[in-house]
Amino acid sequence: MFQYVLRRLLVAVPMLLGAMSIVFFAMRILPGDPCVAMMGDQATTEALADCTKSLGLHRPLAVQYVDYLWRSAQFDFGTSLRQGYPVSEYIARMFPHTLVLVMASVILAALIGIPIGIVSALKRKSPLIDYPLRIFALLGLSMPVFWLGILLLIVFSLRMDIFPLIGGGDLDGALHMIRTGEVFSNPADFLAAVGDVLHHLTLPALALGFTLAATVSRLSRSAMLEVISQDYIRTARAKGQAERAVVYKHALRNMMVPLLTIIGLFVAIALTGTVLTETVFTRPGLGKMLVDAIGARDYPLAQGAITVFTMIIITVNLVVDMLYAVVDPRVTYR
């Protein structure tokens, strides 16, 4: 197992390198440069040249590239061209917000999507149940998250005034209390902070989770259909087990392996979804930061954010693979 993880981590290095190289060059192929973006329409040629020099962008591309890789290898992602904060510090601040959003929406997607998929598979012969569920899936697939987001904001925030319009809640406060141990000395405040985070999280997680849930339900439905056509399900039914037991004991558990893969994959999709979700809901986070960084041609920040995205996806894939062994004792890694 250890060797397997080690091997996978080694394989991750060229993957990360590839992603970092792609983003490095893609950012530079994009029309527009950071100085023009920063200094606007009125900048004189001399001012632009000064700016380019001070940012080190006058150096040959190859030199910039090697410098970037060398610094990244030392976990130095540089400083944001615009705001001057160290990129690693910036990302560390944004990361928890994105993490809770991704986790909440994946959990929501699983909680909504998997039962719907299962029911839809089991009741596929009763159109009154299967059809509405499939329509739900279709709706989720066709609704872009930014549109659904604005709709949710108008209904639940503007009209009904149940949820806040912007922000990520007091996540920093909650994390601070965990770090300092205040969580035990002052549990009421901690709960309030967590409540505030959840309050702010509900709509974005619903928007992102719902669009994901639709896909999850489709995939779980087909996974379930595969499983219930297996011989051992027929055997279970033949030996007289109740349908409930057949579904819970035999079918559901065997569905877990493909489901885990789906959920792993969904962490990746949810991550990309955060870009739009965070922008519409005005939440701090890696996605919103990435959009702004690309718009401003803030190379170090955009590179740092994409590197982190890549690392998350690689890690999630690895964790999912390792979880196979947990949910399916037949799987061993060597």
Partner: protein, 581 residues
């Protein structure tokens, strides 16, 4: 792709490449069998799986979530106690006042910093063509017109205990820009300064290389004119951009990146503590979200990315107002009078008759979103007078072209235009109008930087240009009509006299040494008349700075429609904004 079940099987089968034993060939490629690498061939036994059901877990999680939500304090409650001004704009990228030209950054700076002078309030309006003392108490000019002596206001305090504002801070603020401290952008506007001398803590003398009629405008709290605390800049170094210390009505409290900047009322502000206790400057990139927030009451002021007719309509529908602030930016054409066929004044006149300025303005900025520009020196600039231009008349244009020897019009090949900002839109509209009189413009849409490069190589016979400058006719006319500014690739001159105009050099020279305000105004009036006579400039739209405001929550003493003139920010006096409830 993920919407279909098909790739799933492929995906799982692929994941089997991780297992060391190959999949038996006879196994169907089903999901369940994909991991049968240990080949027992039986389903998982129940003891391998902990007993739980998804349903109670889901119910528990939901209950917990909503339980906690109920516990949380309504966030609005605290805000009600304090008078908090909530602004939705983009996030500033720095709070060092000498470094950024971005709109949102320039707007927030004005909350924190002040200069020696400020734009004057006259007849209940803020004008950008006259100034009055602010951090200075008074000033005098030496008889030869080259030494300004500023008496500074006593007892003005910097934020956060950085002490009293003194002449040292003035000297430091200007010198760091003249010496091009990293990141500073406005030193060029202080190029006229020869030396700065601290006479005593409350007196500073600034010697100029020559008399400068607009020197006091340069001292206004705006871009280069802001005074920073020397102690703070020296203490924080590069970190100053997020540790700003000024003398303005609000001080910087904290910055939550990608979330908000919090400012607080400065008790010791020399103009008196503002009525507003806190300013929360939210980073809201989406205009749609800003509008929802204005209607809901989350935001009181919006700085939109783009004010469209739809945006203005929605603002009006919800009972909010748009604060329009001149002079804003002007979009205009300069015609190169040395480039055939435009060297013939009849062709230039035909060009102007062919352009329907009102139609372009209405398409770009319907209704009140902008005004048809009345002069080549925008209103709000010292010296502005209204000018007249050939009215829209394609028939006359065709006649003039025929007279000038172009009965069938002519074609301009490889006309370069920027792909950014308003440029491509305005030019496409003009292209259609010119086509009607036989002037065919073949467009090459290029990167903004290429456009700037090419217009300085005189590749375009007429140039569309925009922007805002220090609000006086001298810098404006000097930039666009002084013969020294004629771009010339041979000499490397990258000036902006795209008309290649030489007829007002004498007036500009006279204006630069004239100290009598009325005489200066007359000089620039004459300059505008000559430009009008020679038909080298056609202004299209004056586009104001525009913010949306909830008038039930926030009041300003100035009229929403051009009650203030300002530069790159909308509120000259944020301390005069008041929270109403």
């Amino acid at each position: 792709m993920v919407g279909h079940p098909v790739p799933l099987t492929v995906m799982i089968a692929t994941s089997c490449g991780r297992c060391t034993t190959p999949l038996p060939a006879e196994l169907p490629s089903s999901i369940t069998l994909a991991h049968r690498s240990d080949h027992k061939g039986t389903p998982m036994s129940s003891h391998a799986w902990p007993r739980f059901s998804l349903v109670p877990v889901a119910a528990l999680a939901t209950l917990l979530a909503f339980g906690l939500v109920a516990l949380a304090d309504p966030p609005a409650a605290e805000a009600q106690k304090k008078k908090v001004l909530n602004i939705a704009a983009k996030e500033p990228e720095t709070l060092d006042p000498h470094t950024s030209i971005l709109g949102q950054t320039q707007a927030i700076k004005r909350f924190m910093y002040r200069g020696l002078a400020r734009f004057a309030i006259k007849d209940g309006k803020v004008t950008t063509s006259e100034v009055e003392p602010d951090l200075a108490e008074s000033w005098t000019l030496s008889p030869d017109g080259t030494v300004w002596t500023f008496k500074l206001r006593k007892g003005v305090q910097f934020h956060k205990g950085f002490g009293e504002f003194t002449a040292e801070d003035v000297k430091f603020s200007f010198e760091r820009q003249i010496n091009k401290a990293p990141g500073t952008r406005f030193g060029v506007n202080l190029g006229v300064i020869k030396s700065i001398e601290v006479v005593d803590p409350h007196t500073v003398q600034i010697a100029l290389k020559a008399f400068d009629p607009i020197f006091l405008l340069r001292m206004v709290g705006y871009q280069q004119g802001y005074i920073v605390s020397k102690k703070a800049v020296e203490k924080f170094g590069e970190q100053y951009k997020w540790n700003p210390v000024g003398t303005g009505p609000f001080y910087f409290e904290r910055h939550a990146p990608r979330e908000k900047v919090v400012l607080k009322a400065f008790d010791k502000y020399h103009g008196g503590r503002p009525q507003i206790d806190e300013v929360h400057w939210f980073d809201v990139p989406e205009d749609a979200t800003k509008l929802i927030g204005l209607e809901k009451g989350t935001f009181d002021l919006l700085y939109p990315e783009a004010v469209t007719a739809d945006f203005a309509g929605q603002v009006q529908k919800m009972g909010a107002v748009i604060d329009r602030r001149g002079p804003g930016g002007q979009e205009r054409f300069y015609i190169n009078m040395t480039k055939p066929p435009f060297d013939d004044i009849r062709v230039r006149r035909a060009f102007m008759h062919a352009i329907d300025r009102k139609a372009i303005k209405e398409t770009m900025y319907p209704g009140g979103l902008a005004r048809v520009a009345p002069s080549c020196v925008p209103p709000g600039y010292f010296g502005h007078i209204p000018m007249t231009f050939p009215e829209y008349d394609p028939e006359k244009a065709r006649k003039l072209l025929a007279e000038a020897g172009h009965p069938n019009g002519f074609t301009i090949k490889n006309y370069f235009i920027s792909k950014s900002f308003f440029y491509p839109k305005v030019l496409t509209l003009a292209q259609e109008q010119l086509k009607k009189v036989g002037i065919i413009v073949e467009l090459q849409v290029v990167e903004h930087a290429t456009f700037h490069e090419n217009i300085r190589k005189n590749l375009d016979p007429f140039v569309l240009y925009g922007g805002t400058r220090i609000t006086d006719a001298d810098p404006w006319l000097s930039l666009f009509f002084d013969s020294k500014e004629i771009p010339d690739p041979a000499t490397g001159n990258k000036g902006t006299n795209f008309a290649h105009y030489k007829a007002i050099d004498d007036l500009l020279a006279a204006g630069r040494v004239e100290r009598d305000v009325k005489k200066r105004a007359a000089i620039y009036a004459e300059a505008q008349k000559r430009i009008e006579r020679d038909l080298v400039c056609l202004p299209i739209s004056d586009v104001p700075g525009q913010w949306a405001r909830n008038p039930k929550r926030v009041s300003t003493p100035f009229d929403p429609e051009y009650g203030e003139f300002s530069l790159h920010y909308s509120y000259n006096y944020p301390e005069m904004l008041k929270i109403l409830n």
